[in-house]
Symmetry: C2
Subunit: 235 residues, 2 copies
């Protein structure tokens, strides 16, 4: 296209066709949706958890979005933080904390889940201004403040001073997409592409007894106008 400087509709159609097949258009759309603060859906892959998550950027959290996650997804509402932010906050993996403990239950620290990965969990927190911590208003407040302070000066002091554990918002630490291809890393990769801080809210979509199937998740995405991506489109 650059050679002639002329773009025909045939060229555009061909470009869209080729790139939509490779998932590139889906990815661009998902990034644009995340930038707008909208919820997107990411299915990790049949060879991993086989699970679709509702995902959005932490800076756009509202009680209404928390309500959508708990009602339409049904899993745990978590916040994935990239390694840089987690380090700034002084966060450690849950398994590190448990392994280092002097109690005998330190033996229970997970080495490997059934789908092959170590878990992403760090600690669970509440902001000090919440009441119970679990309501939509409280979880939104906790997440909003995490997102607000993540790249501010004194982020570490603010984090340690303003939040307490255990709480009701589950923090996850990304291990990098090259090391792990879970929803934590997939969500953070999208934030990176969108040039936004690595603070992504996510929640597993559950079906009858099992994880919601990819087809059911796609149908839900279509019905609600949510962008849908597979993990392999993000790597």
């Amino acid at each position: 296209m650059e050679k002639t400087g002329i773009i025909t509709s045939f060229m555009v159609d061909t470009y869209l066709l080729v790139n939509s097949k490779t998932g590139d258009m889906d990815m661009k759309n998902a990034i644009s949706e995340v930038r707008k603060g909208n919820i997107i859906i990411v299915y990790d892959g049949d060879d991993r958890e086989g699970e679709a998550d509702l995902i959005f950027h932490g800076s756009f959290v509202t009680p209404e979005k928390i309500e959508i996650l708990r009602k339409n997804a049904g899993g745990l509402i978590c916040v994935a933080l990239d390694k840089k932010i987690a380090d700034r906050f002084g966060l450690k993996f849950y398994t590190e904390i448990l392994r280092e403990s002097k109690f005998e239950i330190n033996k229970m620290a997970c080495k490997k889940t059934a789908y092959g990965d170590e878990p992403s969990f760090s600690i669970a927190v509440n902001h000090k201004n919440v009441y119970t911590g679990i309501t939509d208003n409280d979880r939104a407040l906790t997440i909003k403040r995490i997102s607000d302070i993540c790249d501010e000066d004194g982020a570490h002091e603010k984090f340690v001073g303003e939040f307490y554990a255990p709480g009701h918002v589950f923090l996850l630490i990304g291990r990098g997409i090259e090391n792990r291809k879970g929803h934590t890393e997939l969500a953070l990769k999208i934030a990176e592409h969108a040039d936004m801080p690595g603070v992504m809210v996510l929640c597993e979509m559950l079906g009858k007894g099992k994880a919601l199937s990819m087809d059911e998740a796609k149908k839900y995405a279509d019905k609600n106008g949510f962008a849908f991506l597979e993990g392999k489109e993000i790597w």
Copy 2:
């Protein structure tokens, strides 16, 4: 009534009226429902969390009950364990584990929530035979096995050997109703009255933005035929 040996319908009516006013009939009904494996609702009180929880005994867990909790309650699905079982398993409070840790986030261990209590949280576990741990089937499996082994020989070894942390089922430790009047202790007190092991599943009922109000929780209880109790009826 014992004096004459004759019970008139007037006496029975009076007895029911007096005792239903004091909540005794509600309590008996709730105990009977818990023994049958049914879900009950407990509202802690306006002066505490002001929150209603769906509650049932762990031995009766099924994926269908987990689905009811996540869809109709919407909070965290937790398992309250009495002190005896928690000690048998070697469990510690989350705050103990965090405080003992060498990491600086140990400062974040909660001293007191907004409603005045220390949290009940211990660790979160999965049974080793789950896949992701979060599905209705997986959470039911984890909870069923906790309930199964809680009073078996070798409970400690089974617990430490069969479960891993972090997982998706949140364990709570009861501090005794004389020390704390939270849902953890209220649920365990009902198990005690029912002569059942202290393994109670519970989940916070959420409304728009806030906790579901007592009136709304009562309406839901009536509609679904669930027994409804206030905390003060249990102390």
